[in-house]
Symmetry: C2
């Protein structure tokens, strides 16, 4: 039972993943993957975070279609090694047992494991409201800054995903269920969602 | 509790609507709307079906932005009267009580009633398989013919919807839950889906 969560920034996808995993009694991996990567590689967590979710698309974009010698830059080599290491860790986690994995292109990386892929989204107002309520301590962005940040993060997620995957990030065709969290309390959806996930697995992988 | 179902042709949206309504103990309207229209207007059901789901978009397209005198064609007048009568019936049904309404732009028509909008979809192979299994007696379409029919019907649904609505037909932003029926037995999803719908209404309209 492997469940991947893709999500728009601010939609509550991470909360949904954590709560769903808890209800199903299985592991949930999100930032844990970065921590493992840092531990295994001896690199700084923040540095890895930068590579693994953000810069790798530009790294890949500059590599594809260029001479192999281009990949000789040490920064590029390191970025590629982080991505392939992240892929290895995600596969390892999937082999270890049932789990929920939030983000990190796990839907694509774990394709052969037949995961159930969820997409979590919400309307702009709901996402803004959520971001404001859950802003890290000390972060005081204006609404315009927040909107820019949301847009940028989602664009990076989409680009990174679309480098590897057949379906576009956020295109419902690539997911088994798309959940709009506008106006709802995520925790109150969990019992029904848990039942849905169980029913789906008993049919699809049973 | 008003639930609208939009669906790709062959995805099982109608079956899902019927079963969901049954599980919730509420009415489900689909072809019943056409029957009511025929009864009220004295027009032929097949004729109404043609206008209400297919040709009205071209009727509207030719009207919008043209001189009012253009609407004096009797066929056009009749088509417009069918559409507005359908709208009236859908609103009447919504006022009568909790229900599921399949198709007919009910998501848009009933906007002010704050319905829960579901979108049902599946991958091409799953839809083809379903269409072949459920073909009306005497219908023997080749796969190519069936694919053309599926595409055409969905295109008509999209066009009709997008004439009235803010969000595009099938764009997940316009729905509260998008359900991929590929590889699943719809009836086995119903208990979880019923729980989801109940939870949603207790939060959103409670």
């Amino acid at each position: 039972m492997i469940i991947t969560i893709s999500r728009e920034f601010g939609s509550g996808g991470r909360e949904l993943g954590k709560r769903l995993a808890e209800a199903l009694g299985i592991a949930c991996y999100d930032n844990e993957i970065i921590t493992m990567l840092a531990r295994d590689s001896g690199m700084d967590e923040e540095y890895i975070r930068g590579i693994s979710e953000k810069n790798i698309q530009s790294v890949y974009a500059t590599t594809i279609g260029r001479r192999l010698s281009m990949t000789s830059s040490p920064a590029l080599k390191q970025a590629i090694s982080v991505v392939s290491e992240q892929r290895r860790i995600i596969e390892l986690l999937a082999k270890q047992g049932d789990c929920v994995i939030v983000g990190r292109c796990a839907d694509e990386i774990l394709k052969d494991y037949h995961p159930m892929n969820l997409f979590v989204y919400a309307d702009q107002q709901a996402k803004l409201h959520r971001c404001i309520q859950r802003a890290p301590e000390g972060e005081h962005l204006s609404q315009a800054q927040l909107e820019r940040k949301m847009k940028q993060i989602d664009r990076e997620r989409a680009r990174l995903h679309d480098l590897f995957a057949e379906n576009s990030w956020g295109d419902k065709a690539g997911y088994h269920l798309c959940i709009n969290t506008t106006g709802v309390q995520i925790k109150d959806l969990i019992p029904a969602l848990t039942a849905y996930v169980r029913a789906w697995f008993s049919m699809c992988n049973g």
